[in-house]
């Protein structure tokens, strides 16, 4: 039993090492700024998707407000930098904390509401946040937006300076944080906390009969999931250099949820692939104009209909088939 667990653990670390290698190579393969920009968007969306999956896929709390937490992270860190002159990294921490705190506030509703009702409440939260960003003009400059946001400051190493105005370096930074978030969430879901959250998702009454305080753990899940989204927001502001409320409109919440669903809810690796696919796919479809929205919608519908476990399920099926085929081959080889 424990051997199987440590074997799976080793396989996981190899996977993470492989991901780190892919991250290292990607900007070398994609050298034009168009694709490097897309790479950074991918990394941001990966953070948003795995953060949402922690809340929706593991704890089972249908949160449609991820766009709001993304926006709160972006605006809080940017305003602290632009208005109070805070350096980037302290502002980053504040943005993450602000997102997590607002996530905890929303989770207090999750204690009373579940399923569709929580979905509506969280959607309402996203709408309110959007409206505040849009209308609190003295603070956010509303639809005019905030311009000239600097990228994260360069990191000086002895004899070498990493400058984040360079898209490749910025990608390394954001992807590094995405990987860090992934490892953190992965460690959590593979600890007893993963079992606790799943128990709450499956049956709250039953979970309570095992001593699980569902209220406390929902707050925890929201805090962690929205903190990751807040971190993505901080990088977004420094990356794009401009903040407008429209970037955090509620449709963004649905986009992120689509990444989680297409990738495979309740697995962490699935939403990573979902985020990459749904970021890159629309770029390839740009040639067919607005038809791409139909193709996008169709793809989403097909996934939900025929592969409800998403990409993660498809990968699992493929792996099982491969293993069966190889075992049949070895069996056939024996006389």
């Amino acid at each position: 039993m424990s051997d199987a667990y440590s074997a799976a653990g080793r396989a996981r670390w190899w996977g993470i090492l492989a991901a780190a290698c892919v991250i290292a190579v990607l900007p070398l393969v994609f050298r034009d700024s168009y694709w490097r920009t897309n790479l950074i968007v991918c990394a941001l969306n990966v953070m948003l998707a795995i953060g949402l999956d922690f809340v929706v896929g593991y704890a089972g709390q249908l949160n449609l407000g991820q766009s709001a937490f993304y926006g709160i992270g972006a605006y809080v860190s940017t305003l602290l930098i632009m208005r109070l002159g805070l350096p980037f990294w302290p502002a980053f921490v504040c943005g993450v904390v602000a997102s997590a705190l607002s996530g905890m506030v929303l989770s207090l509703f999750a204690v009373r509401l579940r399923g569709h009702y929580l979905a509506i409440a969280s959607l309402g939260f996203a709408v309110i946040t959007y409206q505040v960003l849009l209308n609190w003009i003295s603070l956010t400059q509303g639809p005019l937006g905030i311009y000239g946001i600097a990228p994260p400051p360069p990191v000086g190493l002895p004899g070498w300076q990493i400058d984040f105005t360079d898209l490749a370096n910025l990608f390394y930074l954001v992807a590094g944080f995405a990987l860090l978030s992934y490892v953190l969430l992965d460690q959590l879901v593979r600890s007893p906390i993963g079992e606790t959250l799943t128990a709450i998702r499956e049956d709250e009454v039953s979970a309570a009969s095992l001593g699980i305080n569902a209220r406390l753990w929902k707050v925890f899940a929201f805090a962690v999931g929205t903190a990751v989204a807040g971190g993505a927001g901080c990088f977004y502001a420094g990356f794009v250099g401009t903040l407008v409320p429209d970037a955090f409109f509620i449709t963004e919440s649905f986009n992120i949820l689509a990444m989680v669903i297409v990738g495979g809810m309740g697995t962490l690796s699935g939403p990573v692939f979902g985020a990459i696919l749904l970021t890159v796919l629309p770029e390839f479809l740009r040639g067919i104009g607005d038809l791409r929205l139909i193709v996008y919608g169709l793809a989403l519908t097909l996934v939900v209909l025929f592969m409800p476990g998403g990409i993660a399920q498809a990968l699992r099926l493929a792996r099982d088939r491969l293993m069966r085929a190889s075992s049949r081959q070895t069996a056939g080889a024996k006389p």
Binding site: A207, A208, L210
Partner: protein
């Protein structure tokens, strides 16, 4: 039985749903290493009483004492930490989880892992995991589910699911186990196996409260029996006393007393 010896005591429990008196002024005391059965016809308020004991419903009146500690105001999850576990009449397993993971979820309140090791799995984490897996495997063996650990809980037969629910409840290391309608949907062999397990638990010093409407089953295992009718306690005594009590016979057979 003297009150001091009781691990669990309920005094004057009442619960109304709307205008319906589901439970009215019920008191009971359960000693360690005994099987206490609550029986009565359908609708007698047995399951409501169990929900009052486990904390699913707050009582309208009365107190619930556990280990001479007043737990009346505690929510269900907090009562578990005092050693109170339960199963459900309508089985409530985590159907999407494997059999062993269902049991491991029951260790929730008993993990010994420093907080930082949840993020970075160290030695204490691995030791805790090995301990929980080993104990879970023991519990599965205890309820006769050895070798089924990797199956999905939803894929088990009805009888196996009942036993799994008991194993999961035992994972919380209870001193009082509440079992709601254990025999419902089980065949005779499964019922016999279940009774045998309950006897073993009693031998180990655990107090077991069984809610059941099948009187024959209860007579085989219970030390004390509380008969309920229309939400009120009708009679409490040993199985032998219950069997000859005219009021109980009347309640079950509908005869004139």
């Amino acid at each position: 039985m003297s009150d001091a010896a009781a691990i669990f005591r309920a005094v004057g429990l009442s619960k109304n749903f709307g205008g319906v008196r589901a439970v009215k002024d019920v008191s009971l005391a359960v000693a360690p290493a005994t099987v206490f059965a609550i029986i009565g016809p359908n609708g007698a308020g047995k399951s409501t009483l169990l929900n009052l004991i486990s904390g699913v419903h707050p009582p309208d009146a009365g107190t619930v004492m556990f280990n001479s500690l007043d737990v009346t105001a505690l929510p269900p999850h907090a009562r578990v930490r005092h050693g109170l576990a339960r199963t459900f009449q309508k089985i409530r397993l985590f159907k999407q989880l494997s059999v062993i993971d269902n049991v491991v979820a029951g260790f929730h309140a008993r993990h010994r892992i420093p907080a930082w090791q949840y993020v970075w799995h160290g030695t204490a984490f691995r030791a805790d995991r090995a301990r929980c897996r080993a104990e879970a495997a023991e519990l599965l063996a205890f309820v006769g589910l050895s070798g089924r650990g990797q199956a999905l809980a939803g894929a088990l037969s009805y009888g196996e699911q009942r036993m799994l629910e008991i194993a999961r409840a035992l994972a919380t290391a209870p001193r009082l186990l509440l079992i709601d309608e254990p025999a419902a949907g089980l065949n005779a062999a499964e019922v016999e196996a279940l009774l045998e397990r309950i006897r073993v638990l009693r031998q180990r010093g655990m107090a077991v409260v069984v809610v059941e409407h099948n009187m024959d089953l209860v007579m085989n295992v219970a030390d004390r029996v509380l008969v309920m009718d229309y939400g009120e306690p009708l009679f409490e005594g040993t199985p032998a006393e219950v069997q000859v009590h005219p009021g109980v016979i009347a309640a079950y057979l509908g005869a004139e007393s």
